[in-house]
């Protein structure tokens, strides 16, 4: 396999009995990819963010969800009360992260619901759920328990990279134990002290698919998952996107046509375990607040859907600073008055790149010693590996047709031809998309391709389009 060096023979992805000790030492080294060395990485210091006035659950954060409201403006809610559910799969329920009242339901074009905003009352009242011991539970009951406790929105499925359908029986469940994206939170910091909760979460997932089928990817040298029971642990080493769960699936148990797998964020696994055992809805978010425009990048603990300004602190000139909820490659733009995205664990402050640049100074023909580039036409590759860069949000050029080849492949650690797959999507050739492996990928896996693209093509949105079209086609 090109680009991958397995120190041990690659595991057969068919279900089989595995020796735990053997698995513990399995390391897969991925060579393709790139770490974008941005300035403003979060320090391991953790701070609790102050409670905010409002919290929001935003349906557009969850792929493929058409919300059906269960509350009206002004309704009183507790933490754990149902706000809305998915029209298509009513057991995908979205719960309020706090107690208070529904302040407003914000709608966009065609009355699409953009966000359900709660006024927090600060009382911290919570709906109480039955306590469940994950060790003694069957699959059906566990699915019901997860649905009731609002955890399906946090389960993503592949193919299609959408919110999972609770009626599916996934082949396996995959959890990435680390985040390799630029300015990412350190997962050992995020999960610190939550070993028991995580372990309960794993046991809960085991009820759904059995012991062998929970795959966990950890980073070389990471300690947190040592001794975790009931997981198929694989150690990964290499540059971003090695932490993407899609990459890990591809290198441990690739998805074939007709198979479905589920993925969860590691913190949501711990939240699930905690919710099940304590009976109280836990929607904890440990967020890396980072970026070159932040004075003291660090980790902060907060709750799902909190206001962005409590994380960023201070006042921000939004003309010259962009606030990104999520990581700089896949996140979405937000404002200080906005709310943290439902699946995001990062808030990044980046300089806005809306000023034109003279060609010889900082434009396209400059030397570019201060630019981080994957192209060797810039001197980045000659500079010391420890140098960190401030990058603004300038497009650095205009969109063009595909010209340069061989540019996506070095940052795309899949045995898939990225450009050909994109072209099959642009040509709306469903058959070709399937054959070229669209089942295995999510838009985030293409983020680095988009970053590196000379022609400034919107790669991720093309992939999203292809996945949506395929999903529609297959019904």
């Amino acid at each position: 396999m090109k680009g991958v060096h397995a120190m041990r023979p690659r595991p057969n992805f068919a279900p089989r009995k595995v020796n735990l000790r053997e698995l513990m030492s399995r390391t897969i080294r991925i060579k393709k990819g790139a770490d974008i060395r941005l300035k403003g990485r979060p320090s391991p210091q953790v701070e609790a963010a102050s409670a905010t006035a409002t919290y929001a659950v935003q349906p557009p954060n969850y792929q493929g969800i058409v919300p059906k409201l269960e509350v009206k403006e002004g309704a009183a809610v507790q933490a754990g009360s149902i706000l809305f559910h998915s029209k298509e799969h009513p057991s995908v329920k979205f719960l309020s992260p706090v107690s208070g009242t529904v302040k407003r339901i914000q709608r966009g074009e065609k009355r699409r619901i953009l966000s359900v905003v709660m006024d927090a009352d600060g009382k911290g009242e919570s709906r109480s759920f039955e306590k469940i011991d994950p060790a003694t539970c069957d699959a059906q009951r566990m699915k019901e328990a997860m649905a009731e406790r609002g955890f399906f929105p946090f389960v993503e499925q592949r193919p299609f990279a959408t919110v999972a359908n609770p009626e599916d029986m996934p082949r396996s469940i995959h959890v990435s134990g680390f985040d390799s994206s630029p300015l990412a939170p350190e997962m050992d910091v995020v999960l610190a002290g939550r070993e028991a909760a995580f372990q309960s979460g794993v046991k809960a997932l085991q009820c759904l698919v059995g012991g062998d089928a929970i795959h966990l990817g950890s980073r070389k040298g990471q300690k947190f998952f040592d001794g975790m029971e009931g997981v198929n642990l694989t150690v990964f080493d290499g540059p971003h996107p090695v932490g993407n769960v899609g990459v890990q699936i591809h290198h441990t148990a690739p998805i074939n046509k007709g198979e479905t797998v589920w993925t969860l964020h590691a913190e949501d696994v711990a939240n699930l375990g905690e919710t099940l055992t304590s009976g109280v809805y836990c929607a904890k978010r440990t967020v890396a607040v980072a970026g070159s425009e932040h004075a003291s990048p660090k980790h902060m603990t907060t709750t799902l859907g909190c206001e962005v300004k409590t994380l960023t602190g201070g006042s921000i000139d939004e003309e010259s600073v962009r606030i990104v909820s999520g990581n700089p490659l896949t996140g979405s733009r937000t404002e200080a008055s906005g709310h943290l995205g439902g699946l995001h664990r990062q808030v990044c402050l980046l300089p806005e790149g809306n000023k034109s640049k003279f060609l010889l100074a900082d434009g396209w023909l400059g030397f570019g010693f201060d630019k981080f580039s994957l192209s060797r036409s810039y001197p980045t590759w000659l500079l010391p590996k420890s140098k960190e860069f401030t990058m603004d949000t300038c497009n650095n050029g205009e969109e063009r047709a595909f010209v340069v080849t061989g540019q996506y492949e070095p940052v795309f650690p899949f045995e898939i031809y990225p450009v050909q797959l994109l072209k099959s999507i642009l040509a709306n050739d469903i058959d070709a998309m399937e054959k070229l492996g669209i089942y295995e990928v999510a838009p985030e896996d293409f983020a680095l391709c988009e970053y590196a693209c000379t022609s400034k093509i919107a790669v991720q949105s093309i992939v999203r389009e292809g996945l949506d079209r395929l999903m529609k086609e297959l019904g």
Partner: protein, 416 residues
Amino acid sequence: MKAAHKLLDAVRPHFEEGGKLSKFWVVYDSLETFAFTPGHSTKNGVHIRDGVDLKRTMFMVILALVPALLFGTWNQGHQYLLSIGQISVADPLMMAFMDKMFIGAVKVLPLVVVSYGVGLGIEFLFAGMRGHSINEGYLVSGMLIPLIMPVDVPLWMVALAVAFAVIIAKEVFGGTGMNILNVALTARAFLFFAYPKQLSGEIWIHQVKASADAGLLADGYTGATALGHLASTVGKAPTDAAATGVMDMFGTEGMFSLTNSFLGLIPGSIGETSALAILIGAVMLIWTGIGSWKIMSSFLVGGLVMGLLFNLMGLNAYMTLPAIHQVVMGGFMFGMVFMATDPVSASQTERGKWIYGFFGGFLSIMIRVFNPAYPEGVMMAILFMNVMAPLIDHYVIQANVGKREKRMLSTQEATA
């Protein structure tokens, strides 16, 4: 620079929709974005973008062409002075340097101007019609075309060839990034087939016919290129007097010796003669990662393999020419570094690039030797491989698709 930007901003309304000059928006837009990377910020998807863009990429290729351009300019003057016997091969190369550069520049500059003028003119026209912005693709093609022209080619022929190449090879397929054939080579092929007599005639050394008529031509100068001489040996036995006469020119003392061919001190198209200058460009392209080292190296290997096979056969004088000599002559090096590596018309898969390059080199030498009517086999070989590239990619991709299907079947078996 603020003043310049203010000026651009001031005249901008005239070019915008409804303005007096709105038809020329494309021109304004391309000039503005040339001078200033626009302050467009990212919207959806990634929030940060790599600094590289198509302008920079294309500019790097033009930089890589500069050594060949400068050497070519000098060499055209050099060849002219040699042909009229004003200097001899024994004289130091730097002698009459400015004269040589001047003679060369007078011939080369108009070619460059015509190539860019006609080509960009058509590009602007199409971009305006389609409402696109200008793609930078022609910046490179426009420099490649003069470099593969004979020095005395009439300018109207160049203009016609450029127009043909840009319209037929590129714009009808949808513009930059969509073409199947290399644009510059299409221009050359057009001339080759439309004006075969003129192209095989006396235009390879400046004013060679006039010099001959005036009786000025130095001994051994006929105005033919190395490949033209070699082509004349095909069909004759290796021992034939005429053939050995030609082969002597390729010996260590001859006009087309290995050293002269490598350095480029021979008549030929403007930019193609010096393997050395071209290799400097190759180093720049590989260094910046813009030219595919895979295509270049496999192309070279392909050419050497074919050359060695011919050496083994040795059926005629041409075949006995050492393989290494074959690859430093004619357009081989130029085609290898600047034409075969055109990412749009080459194979697009990494595995495909090896195959594409190898057969490109292999066929170049094969066509050159087998078919004396086509002395410039490189052009034919690369255009042929341009056509074959999608097929190569198809099979490379099918192998990947097959692998995925096989994996699916084996999983189904394991779970059944």
